[in-house]
């Protein structure tokens, strides 16, 4: 797997190679091989504690309304001509939350209309509306993958993602007090700052 930094640390030598293979297989199975740029895993079987820290590679761009729909302002309504249905569900969800279900109509599969009233105007920059952030799904998949990599009994978990950097710690016991310091140390080994 072409990662810039990929290290597994553990006091038991045979477990290191086993977890390198497990991480490889899991990330490839979840199509995360290209998304993750750096990954550093530390496993302490005695405490026991599993820490994975890392960085995502190039983040996918935000999906805006103009990327998949034509926006036309007409008297009394705004008409959206949908070119691609992939993001339609999340678009409707956003429009319902912003304008209410009574103002959003879908007369056919490829058209959405929002009633534009003088006292309740539709945002003139509607085309720039952020419909979905693919990074959210990516991070969700990543956390799921890290939980599949971690030993199974480690049910006490904590994770964080911020600006392309992520960490996940899990254990069978309560997480240790020095966890932040350990995470910072692992990020330092990758040449990065902890989120």
């Amino acid at each position: 797997m072409p990662l810039d930094h990929f290290v597994v640390e553990s006091p038991e030598a045979w477990a290191v190679q086993a977890y390198v293979d497990i991480a490889n297989d899991v990330l490839l199975d979840h199509n995360l091989g290209q998304a993750v740029a750096k990954l550093h895993i530390e496993i302490d079987p005695v405490y026991p504690l599993f820490i994975a820290v890392g960085m995502l590679g190039r983040l996918p761009p935000l999906v805006r309304l103009r990327d998949f729909a034509d926006v036309t302002f007409e008297p009394g309504k705004v008409k959206l001509g949908i070119n691609e249905e992939t993001h339609l569900a999340s678009l409707l969800d956003r429009l319902w939350r912003q304008y209410g279900k009574n103002r959003v109509e879908q007369p056919d599969r490829w058209t959405v209309e929002i009633s534009d009233e003088p006292d309740l105007p539709v945002d003139r920059d509607l085309a720039d509306l952020v419909v979905s952030d693919p990074t959210e799904g990516l991070v969700r998949d990543l956390i799921y993958a890290l939980l599949a990599i971690a030993p199974e009994g480690f049910r006490v978990r904590e994770h964080r993602y911020e600006d392309g950097r992520f960490w996940l710690a899990s254990s069978e016991n309560t997480l240790p007090e020095d966890l932040p310091a350990r995470i910072r140390a692992l990020f330092a080994k990758m040449g990065e700052a902890a989120p």
Binding site: S10, E12, W14, A15, A18, Y19, D21, I22, D25, V26, D29, I43, P45, V46, P48, A148, P151, E152, G153, F154, R155, E172, N173
Partner: protein
């Protein structure tokens, strides 16, 4: 007459001649698979007659191989049924063992994960104890394997074969008191076993199971069973024909010292007890017919001859 486990693989065409031959020689067909135009027979046959079966099977494309696991039921025990252990390695190992003739049952423990919290329930222990041996598939850390085995082995009476990532010798040294068998270098992994070295590890597991079961057979041979499990299988199939209508692949599963009959205990236990093996000798006299913890099946445990004074 010493019966030897073999696998016969050949075409469907004229395979009934082989089935008849095995019956005429005093052998038993334990399991029969029909896969499109291929038939696989798992059998116990007299040792001296193997060349004869090979010779008769050859013109119709049949092939005979020794399969030491035929007539055994093996429990493949994993700490859970989660993505961490399934489908690899648990399914790979269960399937490989099955391919070599054993009836393998996968048992995913409800709370077998975690070194501190791992435990087994009474039901799980009783189900495992109904098998000829149990293969425990544990993970990659010696420290965790040692801790967990203390809890997982409690109450298990059948021989245990332990697998884990540390070397076999490391496992052998670390586990105290010892278990029956060890196979190292096969811990938790997340891909299908297809490379040559991975298949070699599966072969090592099979070899260890065979060794452990041979020891068990030797132990049983010191005080032989009152009846052969394969013979009781034939008796049950003949006198309780309802078992032939069961859709399970092995309606009567043969074990080293018993049988699992996949019929409801409440309805069929008495009929099985009263089935006659020979004139005046019933199954109830030579074996305990017990309810199995697996569904509502029947477990037949054959008594040693020293207990019954009967050998049939």
């Amino acid at each position: 007459m010493i019966l030897v486990p073999i696998t016969y693989k050949g075409g469907v065409y004229r395979h009934d001649e082989i089935v008849d031959l095995i019956a005429d020689l005093g052998g038993y067909v334990i399991q029969k698979h029909m896969l499109a135009t291929e038939v696989v027979l798992l059998c116990l046959v007299p040792r001296d007659d193997i060349p004869l079966i090979s010779r008769i099977g050859k013109p119709i494309g049949g092939e005979v191989t020794l399969s030491p696991l035929v007539g055994t039921e093996v429990a493949i025990v994993t700490p859970s049924l989660s993505i961490h252990h399934l489908p690899h390695p648990a399914c790979d190992i269960a399937e490989y063992v099955r391919r070599l003739g054993a009836k393998s049952n996968m048992i995913g423990l409800a709370r077998g994960y975690g070194k501190r919290v791992a435990q087994t329930s009474a039901e799980e222990r009783e189900i495992i104890n109904e098998h000829d041996c149990a293969v425990f598939l544990l993970g990659n850390f010696e420290h965790c394997i040692v801790e967990k085995m203390r809890a997982l082995r409690r109450g298990i009476d059948v021989p245990i074969v332990l697998t884990g990532k540390p070397d076999t010798e490391v496992l052998r040294t670390a586990i105290d008191p010892p278990v029956a068998g060890y196979v190292g270098d096969i811990g938790r992994f997340m891909h299908r076993t297809k490379e040559a070295d991975e298949i070699a590890r599966l072969d090592a597991i099979v070899a260890e199971i065979v060794r452990v079961l041979d020891l068990r057979r030797e132990e049983i041979a010191k005080d032989p069973l009152s009846a052969s499990p394969a013979r009781l299988m034939a008796v049950i199939q003949e006198q309780v024909p309802e078992v032939l209508e069961v859709t399970s692949p092995t309606p009567v599963t043969v074990q080293i010292a018993g049988l699992r009959v996949k019929l409801p205990f409440a309805d069929f236990a008495d009929r099985i007890r009263s089935a006659e093996v020979e004139e005046g000798v019933t199954i109830g006299q030579v074996a305990d017919v017990l309810p199995s913890r697996m569904r509502d099946y029947i477990l037949v445990r054959i008594k040693p001859s020293s207990e019954t004074d009967i050998v049939v």
